[in-house]
């Protein structure tokens, strides 16, 4: 019983992280129909950003978000303007190729700069405490809190602000958005910037508890697929639900199925992905826009 509670708790912690990790991927797909295969690499860049800021300037990885997010927003904005906007109207395969190429280039660039040695960000408070017999890891709990905060802020931004509404408009009906005067290209660039900033933030957040290396990205991209399939495109509640489902499944499997260890994540993720695609291809919740068959 205690084991189960602990597993559920760990699953929720992991799920919260997955939810914030997937937001950027889900938004880019939902708003502009681009599947960003370099998703994990932007997360990796965020993690390295936190490592550099910690090593060189002694900045706490959670505080470093204040630097990493604006910088990565700029990176995303420019990238969309110069690269992605050129392929956004083209068939899916083109944008898949472009982002796949980007992922390889980024991972190898970081391999050259930082070598393949795994790095860590050893924060002083990386411990745990006990409540009612349950182990509560401090950093992971902070991540969950921050993840929920970010999701709430994003939700308010999308629902309540003029810019947020123009992003939703462009996602739901690009041509109609143009008719009413939304500059869709600019909205896409802002969306990409926000998505990349969120993804890099997820990388920075996880830096105290996960090894940082140039090829850490692809598993996150793969899991992002599963979570998006579970939760639907571009929906924040969907990301939370999808993240929680994946986090719980992974943790419960690792806890109760003997011999699978903790590396069961990717396998579990794919089994889930296939199950969702067979049973409920539209996702568990309705998406930001309906899934289109193209």
């Amino acid at each position: 019983m205690e084991l189960l509670l602990q597993a559920l708790f760990n699953g929720i912690l992991l799920g919260g992280y997955y939810a914030v990790m997937v937001l950027g991927f889900s938004i880019i797909w939902g708003v502009m129909g681009v599947i960003n295969l370099a998703h994990g690499e932007f997360l990796m860049i965020g993690a390295y950003g936190a490592w550099v800021l910690f090593r060189v300037f002694g900045i706490d990885p959670f505080l470093s978000l204040a630097i990493i997010m604006p910088v990565m927003f700029g990176v995303g904005y420019v990238l969309q303007r110069v690269l992605i906007n050129r392929v956004v109207e083209r068939p899916h395969l083109i944008s898949l190729l472009v982002t796949f190429g980007l992922s390889i280039a980024l991972a190898n660039l970081f391999n050259v700069i930082f070598t393949a040695d795994p790095r860590t960000v050893p924060v002083s408070y990386n411990g745990s405490f006990n409540i009612l017999g349950m182990t509560v890891p401090i950093v992971k709990t902070m991540i969950l809190g921050l993840a929920l905060l970010i999701m709430f802020a994003l939700h308010v931004f999308l629902q309540r602000t003029r810019l947020g509404r123009s992003i939703r408009a462009a996602a739901q009906n690009k041509n109609a958005a143009r008719i009413v005067g939304v500059e869709v290209g600019r909205v896409y660039a802002i969306t990409f910037g926000i998505a990349i900033a969120l993804t890099a933030a997820a990388g920075a957040m996880i830096s105290p508890v996960a090894p940082i290396f140039p090829f850490m990205g692809p598993p996150f991209t793969l899991k992002a697929f599963t979570i998006t399939a579970l939760g639907g495109l571009g929906r924040i509640p969907g990301a939370l639900l999808g993240g929680m489902v994946l986090g719980l499944v992974e943790t419960l499997l690792a806890t109760f199925v003997p011999g699978v260890g903790t590396n069961v994540g990717i396998a579990a993720s794919f089994v889930l992905l296939v199950l969702v695609l067979i049973l409920r291809p539209q996702g568990l919740l309705q998406g930001l826009r309906p899934m289109e068959v193209e």
Binding site: R165, R178, V180, R289
Partner: protein, 247 residues
């Protein structure tokens, strides 16, 4: 009878011998038409005659290769769509143009996306609600859950928010059941009578399009072949035989 060559000086929109198309291929080969203030003008013609091309050319999506377009005493030939919208032409495209997962209210607010004056936004939306009480009843409903006819009304209502001098409609009847189409046309006619709305519509449904308009143009192979008061076109044996299913 109006002489097409001697164009009415008071015309709101005037399309003069326009050639336009895709890449190097002209779909429109010298189309001329005009719309007077307060008129409903309907362009009919068979598939492939270039009806939608007329719409896209006026709206600035296709380049005019020869000829010119004037609107409201201004030359608007080859203006960008944004500039054309600002000059006072509102458009209702053939494809669905509502935001399905926004409420009716949000859709209308999006229609005034470029307007910053909150008071004016409120007034304009009230104005549209007065014209379409049905939309007011449904203001909190997601647009995507409404019927096709209601969505079309929302699109027309949204176009009117900007106080356009003319509304350009591409196939208002597209994808709608006959009864609903009739309701939409009745509404267009009602708006024309109530607020003097000027409308240029491109319509596949020739009979109903003419029934509810003042004047019509028949477009064939990229040229206008017949024109005149809609009632006359409806009665013209050749037009009837070719476009109105005989009888």
């Amino acid at each position: 009878m109006s002489d097409p060559m001697q164009i009415n000086g008071d015309a709101l929109l005037r399309v003069e011998k326009v050639y336009a198309g895709y890449q190097d291929f002209d779909i429109l080969k010298g189309v001329s038409l005009h719309v007077n203030p307060g008129e409903i003008v309907c362009v009919i013609g068979p598939n492939g005659a270039g009806k939608s091309t007329v719409f896209k050319t006026i709206y600035g999506l296709l380049k005019v290769r020869k000829g010119r377009i004037q609107f409201d005493h201004q030359e608007i030939t080859n203006w960008r769509p944004q500039a054309i919208l600002k000059s006072g032409i509102a458009i209702v495209p053939q494809l669905r143009s509502v935001f399905p997962q926004m409420t009716v209210m949000e859709n209308l607010e999006m229609g005034l996306y470029l307007e910053r004056d909150k008071q004016r936004i409120k007034e304009r939306i009230e104005y549209v609600f007065d014209l379409f009480p049905r939309l007011a009843e449904r203001k909190d409903q997601m647009a995507g859950t409404m019927s096709g006819g209601e969505q079309r009304m929302l699109e027309i209502g949204r176009a009117l928010l900007l106080e356009p001098k003319m509304v350009l409609m591409d196939e208002p009847s597209a994808g709608l059941a006959p009864l609903i189409t009739r309701m939409i046309f009745q509404n267009i006619r009602r708006l024309n009578e109530e607020i003097g709305l000027t409308v240029l519509m491109i319509e596949q449904n020739a009979r109903q399009g003419l029934e509810f308009s003042h004047r019509g143009y028949v477009l064939e192979l990229g040229q206008n072949t017949y024109e005149g008061p809609s009632q006359e076109l409806l009665a013209n044996p050749e037009v009837r035989r070719a476009f109105l299913g005989g009888r």
